[in-house]
């Protein structure tokens, strides 16, 4: 860390990684878009976004990041105003009222809100650092985030909404929140969300449970109080057994901890079950539409399969840029946006996909490094938030391309086609660069 201090003001490794990702993204967008009828408009928009992005990057890098903390209230108000505006004057594209049409281009405020929320939350957590271990601080952080995600969910955009939570958890964790509180939030929210998601998916696609007895039983639980009680009892027994196990391992912890864990998990389970039973079928379908926008589950399965075929057929060195059959012949869906990683996989092979992963690794490493040596806690938290956002988005998107994560409308940062996302991402990275350049002080 000391060595970092003596480097120059600009983190060339971060800048290089960003340049690399944007370059790969541009090449893949050119390749993926070229067979499309509106190719020229896509390329024009992308080039324009690149230009604006460079400006945004310079703006972020050149502008003292502390001003975002000073003007945090204004930033928060602007963010909310923007999200309200999109609901009023926004353009509805494919069922999402997420775009504001301005002269020459359209703009997606939720992309900007993503980063603004990180900045606002960083301020909140910094101001509350002395009482960060109290439950109120955790609840307060959720309170700050709630209006933003409530407005996004109205668009409706479930995937973007869901992506806020892991970022918030990561920021709380790195701000020093009590592990017990985090465990309760993650345990309750995780159990409830996962159960609800799984039940919904199982209700719509019974085939999923086909091979697995455990999944089948799990689905049955959502319909029967007896089985639910059985599961809850099982959770408590398991907690007690874990308690005994820990004693045997000479890592004695109070029984209360285990029982609290059991209560949290059971509560999540029971509340999910309660919600699940009250959900009407049309509501369930709507929920599903949140989960998999513009696609029915079968189509989603087809898309993932075609993505896997594209990536897998690329092999080690790929079929060559502009030569991917899956992508160019239209087998690959959403190929310049959500599934662009598959285009890279097909045309540039493992060399390309590995390079992208490597560049993301460098990028995250550099953002974390900037956080470590930031001059104040605010800068540190901003870095954590931005790194978590990029890391989570990249993981979910690549995981979706590789069939590891359910299909969700999450773009691949710096690579997917999408002007707002690119510009805002570059601005955020500019902010990180600024934090890095202002590192000569300690808090």
């Amino acid at each position: 860390m000391r060595s970092e201090i003596h480097k120059g003001r600009i983190d060339w490794a971060l800048a290089g990684a960003v340049l690399g990702l944007v370059t790969i993204g541009t090449i893949s967008i050119l390749s993926a878009a070229s067979p499309l009828p509106n190719a020229s408009s896509i390329v024009q928009r992308h080039v324009m976004a690149l230009l604006v992005g460079v400006l945004a990057f310079s703006f972020g890098a050149g502008f003292n990041y502390q001003i975002f903390q000073d003007q945090s209230k204004t930033l928060y108000a602007l963010t909310l105003a923007m999200m309200v505006a999109v609901l009023i004057v926004g353009v509805n594209i494919r069922g999402h009222k997420a775009w504001i049409r301005l002269p020459y281009f359209t703009f997606q405020p939720s992309e900007l809100a993503r980063i603004c929320t990180v900045l606002v939350l960083a301020n909140y957590l910094d101001r509350n650092s002395t009482r960060i271990e109290s439950p109120n601080a955790v609840l307060g952080a959720f309170g700050v985030m709630l209006p933003v995600i409530a407005l996004i969910i109205l668009e409706p955009d479930f995937s973007s909404t869901a992506a806020f939570f892991p970022v918030l958890i990561a920021m709380l964790f790195c701000a020093g929140a009590s592990l017990a509180h985090l465990a309760i939030v993650v345990g309750f929210g995780g159990t409830a969300a996962v159960s609800l998601l799984l039940w919904t998916l199982l209700a719509v696609r019974p085939g999923l449970a086909g091979g697995s007895r455990i999944l089948g039983f799990f689905y049955a639980v959502s319909r029967s109080s007896m089985k639910l009680a059985l599961i809850v009892a099982g959770v408590f027994v398991l907690a007690y057994l874990l308690y005994r196990l820990f004693i045997m391992l000479r890592m004695q912890m109070p029984l209360g901890v285990f029982m609290a864990g059991a209560i949290v998990v059971s509560a999540g389970f029971v509340s999910a079950s309660a919600v699940n039973r009250r959900i009407k079928d049309y509501q369930r379908n709507r929920f599903l539409a949140f989960l998999a926008p513009e696609t029915d589950p079968q189509e989603a399965a087809y898309n993932v399969n075609q993505a896997l075929v594209a990536i897998g057929s690329g092999g080690v060195v790929g079929k060559g840029v502009f030569a991917g059959t899956q992508s160019r012949l239209g087998f690959l869906p959403e190929r310049h946006t959500d599934f662009i990683y598959s285009v890279i996989g097909e045309e540039m092979g493992f060399v390309g996909t590995g390079l992208v992963l490597g560049l993301y690794l460098i990028m995250l490493w550099r953002i974390f490094a900037a956080g470590r040596i930031a001059r104040d806690r605010y800068g540190y938290l901003v870095c954590v938030g931005i790194a978590s956002t990029f890391g989570f988005y990249a993981f979910v998107n690549i995981g979706m391309n590789l069939g590891l994560v359910p299909v969700a409308g999450i773009p691949l940062p710096l690579i997917s086609y999408g002007g707002s996302s690119l510009v805002v991402s570059l601005w955020a990275l500019g902010v990180v660069l600024n934090i890095y350049s202002k590192r000569y002080a300690f808090f």
């Binding site: 057929s313 012949l329 239209g330 806690r377 590789l402």
Partner: protein, 615 residues
């Protein structure tokens, strides 16, 4: 409360970063699995995605007779394909439709509709299949005028001889439900044609060859992008049969001219088991099945006479069985061939009276005379002397009740009859059964192919060859298959028995019931028979023929279904066939004077047909 220390926060940051780095490792591992380990699998999937084959049917293997004449061949036919292209405008389509319609015998409106559909969907369509060569000539001119119109050469099965060896050849047919389930994993398509019966079915895998085609690149909507290349079809393997076309034709003709126009002729080479003729009438023309429209066939294709009398029809052998019972009587030495017995025209067994077919009685008969005249009374008496067990043993030796293993589906194995088979049914054997079996009645059943193989064994001195109809299969990728004679078994009789048996059979033809078959310049041995039937009786003639001083070169069994008496109905058919077989080109010789037996007043019933009277 104090804010957490910098070090405390830093260590939390480290934990968080490790989470992300682990996530990246998981993705990298998955990438390795998908892109490196399973690359071949996914590459194949991508290739299947993007290519479509416009199929070009391979020429089916040809089928030849023993002298190289074509029995089943291929006819060149052409399929017309239209490949739409983005650059080509649809202005010219009405002209294309107008010009093509007359050659395709199709309504221009409908054709135009198809063309528009092809353009709309940007996919190739097959406008017409199996066009004759005549239409092709004109169409190839049009092809130069209208790009996108494409002719591909395909093959269609043809049977130059029409209705010829139909039961053996079988026929082709469209894929049905059952064949599809069986064949769908072997490169067939729902619209493939497959052999549905006979050789076409048995050797389907050898005959089919490998379809070729044009590989086209298509996009996700199935629209055509470009042609990737041609895969030439690989023709199927040619098969040479042991069948002699000329004899087969003669056999079918003489059967069609027979009294009942129904029956079977099986002719073998007794020296090796080559099937020279396998004829069954009524028959059908396999090319009926190739007509574009089933309605065009002269009869409903579901009702074709598919029953192959030669191998599926089992009939009582009648007096032809006296060859077996005679061998049993003679060979065991129980009866001297010179021993004479008196035939008064009937035989009393307890309270039953069994008649001889010749009601006036044959008077004193020795073995030679009894066979020549087909005297039933002689065989009743001698059969009783020899006993049912002995006769059954000889049935087994002569392979009655056992399939000949010719390798055609549905072969009947006939039925052996004796004390042993009775015991297996838990029923008793009586002397009445013994006298029945002695003259080939009772529950005995044989097929024409069995009798032909049996006569082959008599002709060659006891060797039962497995009858076979395939001489050679020429594969493209491995050495040809060539059939070698295969022995099924051997009957060992004393030389004196063979000599006597054969001379008795030759007497049958020279002066006995088979006199009509007699042909100067040939040595023919044989036996007539009449198979009892609730309706009209079936007529048998079984025998062998050869040039004097040479080993017999022909063994045959003739069955005229519902023909009546063997000596009347089967012998003229056998005569015409044997003469044609040995005298190329066919020379009509004067029919020799009818022998003694035939000059007798016409019997009420044929030889061997014995009414059982119960007092």
């Amino acid at each position: 409360m104090a804010a957490p220390s910098r070090d405390a926060l830093q260590s939390r940051l480290s934990v968080l970063s490790v989470f992300f780095y682990l996530g990246i490792c998981v993705l990298a591992a998955r990438l390795l699995q998908v892109q490196v380990v399973k690359n071949v699998y996914y590459s194949a999937a991508a290739e299947r995605n993007r290519t479509q084959l416009i199929r070009q049917t391979a020429p089916r293997g040809r089928i030849f007779d023993r002298s190289g004449g074509e029995i089943a061949a291929n006819q060149a036919v052409f399929s017309l394909i239209y490949l739409p292209s983005k650059e080509r405008d649809s202005q010219s389509l009405p002209a294309v439709a107008r010009d093509l319609a007359p050659y395709l015998k199709e309504d221009p409106e409908k054709l135009l509709e198809n063309l528009y559909k092809a353009v709309r969907e940007q996919s190739a369509i097959r406008l017409a299949e199996k066009l004759p060569s005549k239409a092709m000539f004109k169409l190839s001119e049009l092809r130069t005028i209208y790009p996108g119109v494409l002719l591909i050469r395909e093959s269609r099965r043809s049977y130059p001889n029409g209705a010829f060896a139909a039961h053996l050849m079988g026929h082709m047919g469209k894929m049905d439900e059952a064949s599809w389930r069986r064949l769908k994993n072997q490169g067939y398509r729902v619209d493939s044609w497959v052999g549905r019966a006979g050789i076409e079915k048995i050797f389907e895998q050898d005959l089919r060859g490998q379809d070729g085609g044009m590989r086209m690149e298509v996009d996700a909507r199935g629209r055509l992008r470009r042609t990737l290349g041609d895969i030439p079809p690989k023709p199927g393997s040619n098969i040479t049969l042991t069948i002699d076309s000329r004899l087969q034709k003669v056999a079918e003709d003489v059967l069609r001219k027979s009294t009942s126009k129904a029956g079977a002729i099986v002719a073998l080479d007794p020296r090796n088991g080559d099937v020279l003729v396998l004829a069954s009438i009524p028959d059908f023309d396999p090319s009926w099945f190739l007509l574009p429209d089933e309605e065009d066939a002269p009869i409903n294709l579901k009702n074709i006479p598919a029953f192959n009398l030669a191998i599926q029809g089992s009939f009582p052998p009648g007096s032809t069985f006296k060859i077996v019972s005679g061998a049993a009587i003679l060979n065991e030495g129980k009866i001297s061939p010179e021993e004479r017995t008196f035939c008064p025209g009937y035989f009393e067994l307890g309270s039953r009276v069994q008649l001889c077919w010749y009601h006036a009685g044959h008077k004193w008969q020795n073995f030679l005379q009894a066979v020549t005249n087909s005297c039933d009374v002689y065989f009743y008496k001698m059969g009783l002397k020899a006993g049912g067990d002995l006769i059954e043993r000889y049935e087994k030796m002569f392979r009655i009740g056992q399939p000949t293993l010719i390798g055609l589906p549905g072969e009947s194995k006939g039925h052996a009859f004796g004390p042993g088979t009775r015991a297996a049914q838990k029923r008793s054997w009586y002397d009445g059964d013994t006298i029945n079996v002695s003259i080939g009645q009772g529950e005995l059943l044989v097929t024409p192919i069995q009798m032909a193989v049996l006569m082959g064994a008599v002709a060659n001195g006891g060797t039962f060859y497995r009858p076979h109809f395939v001489q050679k299969i020429q594969y493209a990728d491995r050495p040809p298959f060539e059939r070698v004679p295969e022995e099924l078994g051997r009957v060992t009789l004393k030389d004196s028995t063979w000599t006597l048996l054969k001379s008795s059979l030759e007497d049958v033809v020279r002066v006995g019931t088979g006199g009509k078959v007699n042909t100067p310049g040939l040595v023919i041995g044989g036996k007539t028979g009449t198979a009892q039937n609730p309706g009209k009786d079936h007529a048998w003639f079984v025998g062998y023929a050869g040039k004097p001083g040479e080993a017999p070169s022909l063994a045959l069994a003739v069955l005229v279904q519902f023909g009546g008496h063997g000596s009347d109905a089967a012998t003229p058919v056998a005569r015409d066939f044997i003469r044609a077989a040995f005298a190329p080109p066919v020379v009509e010789t004067a029919v020799p004077a009818a022998p003694v037996a035939e000059q007798q007043p016409l019997p009420m019933r044929g030889p061997g047909a014995v009414p059982v009277l119960i007092h």
